[in-house]
Symmetry: C2
DNA sequence: CGCGGGTTTGAATGAGTTCAATCACGGTGG
DNA sequence: CCACCGTGATTGAACTCATTCAAACCCGCG
């Protein structure tokens, strides 16, 4: 919840008690192991989830097993606020890593924010940002080369982690297999591996442990046409 | 405006006077010729647009000229409700055909729907549907073959036109060049042409005039894995 | 030590692109 | 009325980027 506050706090003048009402909401804390489902296709959506820790993915599986990841969801992510009751999910959500999440009834959540216009505005901004991320994903898989795609996604995730942690680092933890990158970018695992190797050879990044170090942020952003403005983090002072 | 009513009317029990308040809102009617811009990149968004007639596209141009169309917007489309004041557009909107549009100040629009919860709910549904269309677009360009992409988009547009016109036809008017299809699907114009030829040869569709006739809807939907449920038209009785 | 998940590498294949030429068609001017 | 454009659609041939398949590799773990 602290991370959600970090994130949402960028959009409103932060006051602790705005959030206390959210914290006090009736809820359940659940955990999922890597690969376990959180929301299944066709499920009725009457809960809002908040990711307390860990990474999740939103995706769809086609009949023959192809998988497209729509978006990565990291700590502080908050879904599905939009859908509300009486909609059925047309895609699934599952855990990429070990995940801890808070489950709140949609009605309770909506009641809590509807009274407080600052909070409502903040979550409105989160929804706008979410949609911008989806649009950027379309551009990425639709019109960018493999090299650009991989670099662009790395930079996006790096920024989004920064928005949650409050500081922009040159290292991103990616505690999940490259297959997730492949399915997010519409590439094969093999080609993701080759592309990462090339990015390393060209000095943009280096890998070590379960993450990636960004060595030449400027040049890399230039190369893959990454412009962080779409993430709407302007209130953040990350340089 | 009639088309917007058609569309939105699926989600609430239709009452003429819900909409009269929208019709009476201060507005300007504008027209754009094919190719002319409606919203430019970086522009501050404090207007809601309603397409009265014609087709528009939402897209982004990359530095080297590559273009990715994010979504087609057809008569009855209503944007950008989400963004509200103080956001800058990270993509452009322009006319695909001759377009007539209604421009309403965001504040006026929001005031008008905020009082009437049925209207607010209806536009909420429109926003949900819009987002589902974006997600489907990601899956289309990310994990489908050229043949599947083209077929899938044809079926989607067909359904969306039906939602506006109130009846599902086997013929779709597509009064714009194939280049738009290409840029929407992340393909080259040449390959779109080849793919359409193949779809014709296999008996799925036929072309004539400025449109496409769907000859084997079932088989085609099966082939490209099209499931109209994501469009959230359930209240529509289109079979 | 040996197993297993995940990554890397190589070689062959394939889907889609690019470039260039041709075609089809509607509009315009002589 | 017809020749001439210009835009967009189609076709062919060469090429490229990414996929597929298969083997090797790496490393943490029982």
């Amino acid at each position: 919840m602290k991370r959600l506050m970090n994130r949402v706090g960028h959009y409103v003048d932060f006051k602790e008690d705005y959030f206390s009402s959210l914290l006090d909401l009736p809820h359940r804390i659940e955990t999922r192991r890597p690969g376990e489902e959180i929301v299944t296709v066709g499920q009725r959506i009457d809960f809002v989830f908040v990711i307390e820790s860990g990474w999740a993915i939103r995706y769809r599986i086609l009949d023959d097993g192809r998988r497209q990841i729509l978006n990565f969801m990291l700590p502080g992510a908050c879904f599905d606020m939009m859908s509300m009751a009486s909609a059925h999910s047309d895609h699934a959500v599952s855990a990429a890593t070990e995940v801890k999440l808070r489950r709140i009834k949609s009605v309770d959540f909506l009641k809590a924010i509807s009274g407080r216009s600052e909070l409502a505005t903040a979550f409105w901004w989160v929804a706008i940002q979410e949609e911008a991320i989806l649009r950027e994903q379309i551009i990425r898989v639709g019109r960018r080369s493999a090299k650009e795609r991989v670099a662009h996604l790395i930079l996006e995730l790096n920024r989004r982690v920064a928005a949650v942690e409050g500081e922009l680092k040159d290292f991103i933890d990616l505690p999940f297999p490259q297959a997730l990158f492949a399915d997010a970018l519409g590439l094969s695992v093999v080609h993701v591996s080759r592309t990462l190797t090339k990015l390393k050879a060209e000095g943009f990044i280096s890998t070590g442990g379960e993450g990636i170090k960004i060595l030449m942020r400027e040049e890399m952003a230039e190369m893959c046409d990454f412009d962080s403005r779409y993430l709407h983090l302007e209130r953040l002072k990350l340089g």
